[in-house]
Symmetry: C2
Subunit: 343 residues, 2 copies
DNA sequence: GAAGATTGTGCGAACGATTGCACAAACATA
DNA sequence: TATGTTTGTGCAATCGTTCGCACAATCTTC
């Protein structure tokens, strides 16, 4: 004598039984696309009964039947990095707005593990993939293409644009930084580059070289870091000052590397910005609070996340459209880490 | 005449056909739990054929049949906040280690939207839920309990512990901060509290009051912020200096609020730490870099994320175990934002 | 050597939604 | 009135796995 009989969760069949119609009719009444084929009055009754029984469409069952899951996989190189969580935020907003859900995987590891991650995601029947981990020539991307799962790259792109990508204007951005430093009178500018295997590392380095050349300066003072983190930045800074002690400015490949350089300079007793000016790249959250506040190139991470999600949705809708790369504009943010040379 | 006949993706049936056995036999051979019932030699052949056909178990179909998805939903209040992405990182590590996947939803909005999020997640048949959004008495938690989906709370807990939770030692932590400030000679200490509706806000405020009382000081100088962000922190700081202009130290409810206070003090020409000392809570990433480097109470976010995931796994395995709350130890990190009073 | 226990496979019904096809009824046209 | 044409529903197969049950063959044990 339980007053809440705990009915076993409503299904199309239970609704159909209660209404004395066939379950397929119920399904159609509930589906906005099909609804017009059903008598409006019946639709009404179905809706009411669904409400009463607390019916919830079983996405799993629907997925099995249709092969579509309204699920997308997002692979990030590093969950702990605010740059990527901001991108994720943007992706999330767009996706939930289109009633998609987001399967998130932080790779954390090397690329062999990545294919595994993609495998898992694809095994879960994701409708598409957003990768923030791409290398300039990425086997994981090949894998996605082979599997024919719609994929878009964000932040980092491949050299040959095989899939849609949303990236910052890396080359231009680094040019902005160099021009700014040169404008402050700096002539001996060094660059801490990101990893060569990823587009951001490569493009920003090229941007550095080109802008230096254009300014009539020596663009060969470059140390490339193994990874985008503070330790690598510090190590690179050490090498820079060992090889080019007369360096008056450093343009770093991203904010984390700049932070590392700052660590090193602080330890080495080099004053920033008095003795050496420093720029970063990304304008990641809270970077404006460091001491000295870092001048950097702002990348619209949130917007890029949103754009990537939109692009993926488009790719899912039309899998055969030609891949395009969307380059988002960047802006120079000047703060306290740069000073006019020699004052 | 395609040399890659693009077979329609391998299933148990295609393997069974190729081997001349029944599909259930193949399933058992592939399942480590059942494998012992099958002739080893046949297991071998099945494995080889699976390899050859590139068989991948269809999790969707399996989920439909079993009602289990090896999927957990994670709901965060704010993707952009590094504190939560660090927790997420921890959750991710543990979960992927147990071959679970992670459905991430950033609520972003009010709690009515939250039930919707939980609905979506549950509709996707998640095996469990991790909520970092809980209020002290949370309707969403009620919803989860009604739905009988295993749930654990992280960072924030409910007052009555209806579900397992992993939280920092908020009360103790704030005591650490107060004792430290008192030890530096401060007597007129104010508190910027977090929102009263969440446990962190409430417990830290109580910790503040209790520690102040224990130190024989006036613990009533409290302004509670509406939300955990920089703007709210700045607004609260403004009020504090308006009402208690003789304040020499501020213990903030978290780092973001402390940052806001710093913003205000900077704008108001109040020197930190010379005139006013300041502590935060969380020790969020990069907070050590602000100027002045913030003294704060370190919360092991990553570990808490891992612990929450482990707890959820346990709750999934044994849904009827009694809910426990796991309180993680916190430590005081002293940096440059505090000074001895009156020097 | 008969009765029972064990072992290895096969069988087929779920799980719940989707969808092409069929079919009756109502309606339009000639 | 006979012949189309809609329109609204029902029917049943399908997606790929899982798992209780059945059954034959082989192995014990007294």
């Amino acid at each position: 004598m339980d007053d809440t009989p705990r009915r076993k969760a409503a299904t199309l069949q239970t609704l159909a039984d209660a209404l004395g119609v066939h379950r397929s009719t119920v399904a159609r009444a509930l589906n906005p696309e099909e609804r017009h084929r059903i008598t409006p009055e019946l639709v009404q009754r179905v809706m009411e009964e669904a409400e009463r029984q607390g019916y919830r469409r079983d996405i799993i069952a629907a997925s099995l039947r249709t092969g579509k899951s309204r699920l997308v996989g997002v692979v990030l190189p590093d969950l702990a990095n605010p740059v990527f969580s901001t991108i994720l935020d943007g992706v999330s907003v767009t996706l939930t707005g289109h009633s998609y859900s987001m399967l998130v995987a932080g790779s954390g590891g090397p690329s062999d593990k990545q294919s595994e991650i993609v495998d898992t995601l694809v095994g879960r029947r994701v409708d598409g993939l957003i990768l923030a981990t791409a290398m300039r020539d990425d086997p994981t991307v090949s894998c996605c293409m082979r599997l024919k799962v719609p994929t878009v790259l964000v932040n980092r792109a491949e050299d040959k644009m095989r899939v849609p990508s949303v990236v910052p204007a890396d080359h231009i951005g680094m040019g902005l930084a160099v021009d700014y430093l040169a404008g402050l009178g700096h002539r001996r500018i060094s660059h801490i580059g990101g990893p060569e295997e990823v587009s951001t590392g490569c493009l920003r380095r090229q941007g550095f070289q080109d802008a230096m050349t254009a300014a009539g300066l020596d663009g060969s003072r470059i140390i490339s870091a193994k990874s985008y983190d503070r330790e690598a930045g510090a190590a690179a800074a050490r090498q820079i000052f060992a090889r080019w002690p007369d360096t008056t400015a450093i343009a770093a490949g991203n904010d984390l590397l700049a932070l590392g350089a700052l660590d090193y300079m602080r330890a080495a007793g080099i004053d920033c910005p008095k003795q050496v000016s420093l720029t970063g790249f990304n304008d990641m959250p809270f970077i404006d609070l460091v001491d000295p506040a870092l001048s950097t190139v702002r990348v619209p991470q949130f917007d890029m996340g949103k754009a990537a999600a939109e692009m993926l949705l488009a790719a899912i809708a039309d899998p055969d459209s030609a891949p395009q790369v969307q380059r988002h504009p960047v802006t120079l943010i000047t703060r306290q880490s740069c000073a006019r040379v020699g004052v």
